[in-house]
């Protein structure tokens, strides 16, 4: 039911762990529905230089977490805010319909981490708009 890419990211997840002093962190989901994702990002000069995740969840939850971290690593925070669940799912060569909510969580977790970073660094918000306008 899972693509080879999903199984690859599930079996060898990238960027597992936590950051010591993250610039931003986001946790989404809950134990009731069976998936919780936590993302830590390290931002330098508006660029996500490091990202780590920890996930309680199914194979798709782990694979989408892993793929989402790869997709935002090295990107500007404004770009990370534009990450969509659809892009994560496509990068994994698709997900079964019942697992699309996992990609939603991955998108939300990345966005939550970036928003946390912006909240802690309001001075960056102005620069962010500049970046987006480019």
């Amino acid at each position: 039911m899972y693509s080879e890419k999903v199984m690859d990211h599930f079996s060898n997840p990238r960027n597992v762990g936590e950051l010591e002093n993250p610039s931003g962190t986001g946790t989404v989901g809950n134990a009731k529905c069976g998936d919780i994702m936590k993302m830590d990002i390290q931002v330098e000069n508006g660029v996500i230089v490091d990202v780590k995740f920890k996930t309680f969840g199914c194979g798709a939850a782990i694979a989408t977490s892993s793929m989402a971290t790869e997709m935002v690593k090295g990107k500007r925070v404004a770009e990370a805010l534009q990450l969509t669940n659809k892009a994560v799912a496509e990068a994994l060569d698709g997900l079964p319909p019942v697992k699309m909510h996992c990609s939603m969580l991955a998108e939300q977790a990345i966005h939550a981490a970036v928003e946390d970073y912006i909240k802690k660094h309001p001075e960056e918000a102005a620069g962010l708009e500049l970046t987006q306008a480019e």
């Binding site: 899972y2 199984m7 599930f10 079996s11 997840p13 597992v16 946790t27 134990a31 009731k32 529905c33 069976g34 998936d35 919780i36 994702m37 936590k38 920890k54 996930t55 309680f56 969840g57 199914c58 194979g59 798709a60 939850a61 782990i62 019942v98 697992k99």
Partner: protein
């Protein structure tokens, strides 16, 4: 090591002897049992012999055995057939919260048709209390349906006592014995059972064949119209190879029941003890002793069942889970919720169901591999003693 199959509660391999017995009935003795010629009569004799084998396994008469397409069909027939046949007497059905969906969804559908259904709760081990059954009985109660053994957590239900109670009150008693046939001794008379569902592929028979035992004199509505097969109660040309295979399989299963049960119970207990000893923060789901000889069901904290199954599969081990992600819905198993588990603990369940062919070496291999996989997944998980809302001293892990 070859792949280790520990999902025998889902389905079993057809036993070689069963397959050999079936094979001639595909293209040599392929007659229609309803035909008058000798090819048909040969087929009829074979069906009659299989019906006798099935009847003997549960202490019934051959005329009380009706072949169906499987356990789900048998459950549907017993419950819907009785509900509509007894509609004049009453509209109340008693069942339990932990039945298979073939029973639960059938009952829920009957509620939409105007029937009333009581879904009895179970204790922390998944056992129904006989006194709860008694309290639920009203003068409108027409049927009590309680499974013989739970398919997820393996808990054995007090069906003999419930059957006795039902008969004292003049109420029909049905039991879904899909997991119990071939695993524990069953006797429809001693246990006061009016209808009993079974499925061939759970005891090393083929898929697509099952049976419903219907006590003489009990008359649920006709299930399938259109022919005289199965005493005109379930029309359709007989699944000849399936029936032959199921007959042989149930004969083998009941002949070797004691030896198989003793062997599997020992391996089951070794697996349970090993998991509880090797992995911290694990609980056994279901009863320690009042359980099927082949069922192991544990909840492993901080990890999710589907991820665990995928990792086990990559290591060559087949199991199953009651997590939401394996059910296609957002809720974990209704059985695990019914025994009182919080969602977080229910999502981390793992069922390993042994077969008659499971070896000690396979159990040892699972015990060798599982702790490492759990450790890996826990290292990846955001949940731990600090982050879990259930806290460090979760009462469900005692």
């Amino acid at each position: 090591m070859d792949r280790i199959y520990m999902d025998n509660a889902a389905t079993t391999a057809v036993a070689p002897e069963v397959l050999q017995t079936m094979l001639p009935y595909f293209s040599e003795m392929y007659g229609n049992p309803s035909s008058i010629h000798s090819t048909g009569r040969d087929a009829r004799r074979a069906v009659d012999a299989a019906r006798k084998q099935v009847a003997q396994a549960i202490g019934a008469q051959p005329t009380e055995i009706y072949f169906t397409a499987g356990g789900s069909e048998s459950d549907n027939w017993a419950i819907k057939g009785t509900a509509f046949a007894k509609r004049d007497k009453g509209n109340h059905i008693i069942t339990t919260a932990i039945e298979h969906h073939a029973v639960l969804h059938t009952c829920q559908w009957l509620e939409k048709q105007g029937f009333q259904v009581t879904y009895l709760p179970v204790d922390e081990y998944g056992r129904v209390r006989v006194e709860d059954v008694e309290k639920a009985i009203t003068d409108k109660t027409i049927l009590i349906s309680v499974m013989a053994a739970n398919n997820e957590i393996g808990t054995l239900e007090p069906i003999a006592e419930i059957g006795k109670l039902a008969h004292e009150k003049g109420i029909l008693f049905h039991t879904d014995a899909v997991q119990a046939v071939g695993a524990i001794p069953l006797d429809v008379n001693a246990m006061h059972i009016d209808m009993l569902s079974m499925s061939g592929h759970k005891f090393h028979g083929p898929k697509g064949i099952g049976a419903l035992y219907i006590r003489k004199g009990v008359r649920p509505d006709v299930f399938m119209h259109g022919g005289a097969q199965e005493r005109a109660q379930r029309a359709g040309t007989e699944n000849l190879p399936g029936i032959i295979g199921m007959g042989k399989a149930i004969e083998l299963a009941t002949q070797n029941l004691e030896a198989n049960a003793a062997r599997m119970t020992r391996l089951r207990d070794k697996l349970i003890d090993g998991i509880l000893a090797e992995i911290p923060e694990v609980r056994l789901n279901g009863h320690r002793t009042q359980r099927l000889p082949n069922n192991v069901n544990v909840s492993i904290r901080y990890i999710e069942g589907e991820a665990l199954l995928l990792r086990l599969d990559l290591a060559g081990i087949a199991g199953s889970s009651g997590s939401a992600c394996t059910s296609g819905s957002l809720d974990p198993s209704h059985v695990l919720l019914a025994i009182g588990l919080p969602h977080e603990i229910a999502h981390g369940s793992l069922r390993l169901s042994l077969g008659t062919d499971t070896t000690e070496a396979e159990v040892d291999e699972v015990l060798r591999v599982l702790p490492g996989i759990v450790k890996d997944l826990r290292a990846m998980s955001v949940l731990n003693a600090e982050t879990s809302t259930l806290g460090a001293n979760c009462p469900f892990m005692k």
